[in-house]
């Protein structure tokens, strides 16, 4: 827990990657975390079923913003099927920190949003 705010997380929080909006995104999805009101928008540009560009926007805590920033880097170049297969553990590995069930929702918000966009998934990934 003491390294919840490791340098890589604070870096992504301070200098988020792919923050902003795309022109004419192929996929656009927005959702909120009902327990805290944070929100994230994810936009994807596709070539066939491969993600060629990605952007996120939103407001939230360092965990949710860093997680979104890192996630955009990870999924650029993935196919939609690869994105569909991402799960909680992928995010935890990506962040490299331990996290409780409440904060987990912050960490997973960006994945939830991107999966909802890709798949129409209506729920938190479990």
């Amino acid at each position: 827990m003491d390294d919840l705010y490791r340098e890589n997380i604070l870096d992504h929080y301070r200098y988020p990657q792919n923050k902003g909006h795309l022109e004419n995104p192929d996929i656009h999805y927005h959702d909120v975390n009902p327990f805290c009101g944070d929100e994230i928008t994810m936009e994807l540009k596709l070539d066939g079923d491969r993600i060629v560009d990605v952007a996120f926007d939103g407001k939230g805590c360092a965990i949710s913003m860093a997680s979104a920033s890192m996630l955009t880097e990870e999924i650029k170049g993935m196919t939609l099927d690869e994105v569909k297969a991402l799960d909680k553990d992928f995010i935890l590995d990506m962040l490299g920190i331990e996290i409780g069930p409440v904060r987990l929702k912050c960490a997973l918000l960006s994945l939830k949003v991107v999966k909802a966009g890709v798949w129409g998934l209506e729920e938190w990934p479990e």
Binding site: F35, G37, V102
Partner: protein, 407 residues
């Protein structure tokens, strides 16, 4: 196989005397006793972990949330629900049934529709339907029972029609003891396009329950009857149904966004859990589920059948006793009876003087008592901690009652 002595030692309340006699608690159908494992789970929770759940990022709140949600998961597995999202925590089985009546019922019922229930229902599975029928103009119908105290299946065939939108019935009667064929009844309901609501308040504590095998649309239960604390119950509901339903209670936790102009709803199960939940109680219920799993529900059912069969045989030795409902092979672990014309309150009061706790009254099931033309019965009910020796004391006390009342 657990030893009954070991089990009894887990229940502190059983170690006491009442009116100079060891307590024989034969009132578990009203509310069961709690093992130390359950009591201590809550005690420890308050001593080490308590904080409000879901919205706190500090350690206690994270831990409380994890414990609360983990208990939901264990209950979901206990019932073999497809997902923990299908488990909604309520105050008791009564609230679970009301939730279905208010949320599903008010949306899906209208004049010309019928709601079907049975004559052997507990008031908690009657009154919510009376209320929602009054609100919506739907008609409430009752499946009658046979002289053996079982559902009249022929009448059921006639009553269950394409007008029937919802069929609600108990899996086990709290007066007759009758165990209903839940899977068949659900199938019959589905065949006419009705949803099936199962009152599992009496069955879940005593018989292994598999909601997917039963194909029940909804199932209600109470923690306090299954070794868990008071103040919590649950509603199992099929996800697609729950998703389509409007919320019932409004407030914190059940919302996605609240604007002054209107609100949207949280994901399942939270959509139906408004306000601060019964956190410690849910955790206690989780401990009760663990305890029952450790005992093994098959063992529980076998143990109760043994006691009940023995009690059935013994009580029929007592002249003037009339037990309501079917034989011991078709009933759960309880016997409701009359003893001549001695009022059940008086029977229960004399038994209490002997340290034996039984219930007397209409057991919140007046229609079935009306059916038999009586206003009350005395009921002895059995659970994991009861013994044949307690049955013997119970029967002996019935003789004493007859003596006092010169019957």
């Amino acid at each position: 196989m657990p030893s009954i002595t070991e089990i009894r030692n887990d229940f502190p309340i059983l170690q006491q005397e009442i009116h100079g006699h060891p307590l024989a608690f034969l009132d578990s159908a009203a509310s069961s006793q709690k093992p130390v494992q359950v009591i201590e789970a809550m005690d420890q929770y308050y001593r080490t972990t308590h904080a409000n759940v879901h919205r706190g990022v500090h350690t206690l709140s994270e831990n409380a949330t994890a414990a609360y949600e983990n208990a939901r998961l264990r209950l979901a597995r206990f019932l073999n629900a497809a997902s923990p999202r299908e488990i909604i925590f309520t105050r008791n089985a009564t609230e679970s049934l009301n939730l279905v009546a208010y949320s599903w019922g008010r949306t899906n019922l209208s004049a010309g529709d019928e709601v079907l229930i049975t004559e052997m229902e507990h008031h908690s599975n009657i009154v919510p339907w009376q209320l929602v029928c009054e609100m919506t103009g739907a008609t409430l119908r009752f499946v009658p029972i046979t002289s053996r105290g079982e559902l009249d299946f022929e009448a059921l065939d006639d009553l269950l029609t394409e007008r029937t939108k919802l069929f609600a019935f108990t899996a086990m009667s709290n007066v007759l003891g009758t165990i209903n064929p839940v899977a068949e009844l659900v199938e019959q309901a589905h065949a006419v396009g009705a949803i099936a609501v199962v009152d599992g308040a009496q069955s879940v504590p005593h018989l292994a329950t598999d909601v997917q095998a039963l194909d029940a649309d909804f199932l209600a239960l109470s923690s306090h009857k299954m070794l868990g604390p008071t103040g919590v119950g649950a509603l199992y509901g099929k996800r697609a149904l729950l998703e389509a339903m409007p919320p019932f209670l409004g407030g914190g936790d059940m919302i996605r966004e609240v604007k002054m102009t209107g609100s949207s709803w949280n994901d399942l199960p939270y959509k139906f859990e408004a306000g601060t939940p019964a956190i410690a109680e849910v955790i206690g219920l989780g401990a009760a589920v663990d305890y029952l799993n450790d005992l093994d529900m098959d063992w529980v059912a076998t143990h109760e059948r043994e006691i009940t069969t023995y009690a059935w045989e013994q009580i029929h030795q007592v002249e003037g006793v009339r037990v309501l409902g079917p034989g011991p092979d078709r009933r759960g672990g309880l016997l409701a009876f009359v003893l001549g014309d001695i009022h059940p309150h008086d029977v229960a009061a004399v038994l209490d003087m002997e340290g034996i706790a039984v219930r007397a009254g209409h057991h919140c099931a007046q229609p079935i008592h009306d059916h038999y033309g009586i206003s009350a019965t005395t009921r002895a009910s059995f659970y994991v901690y009861n013994t044949k020796a307690e049955v013997d004391r119970f029967v002996a006390a019935l003789y004493k009652t007859k003596e006092i009342f010169e019957f």
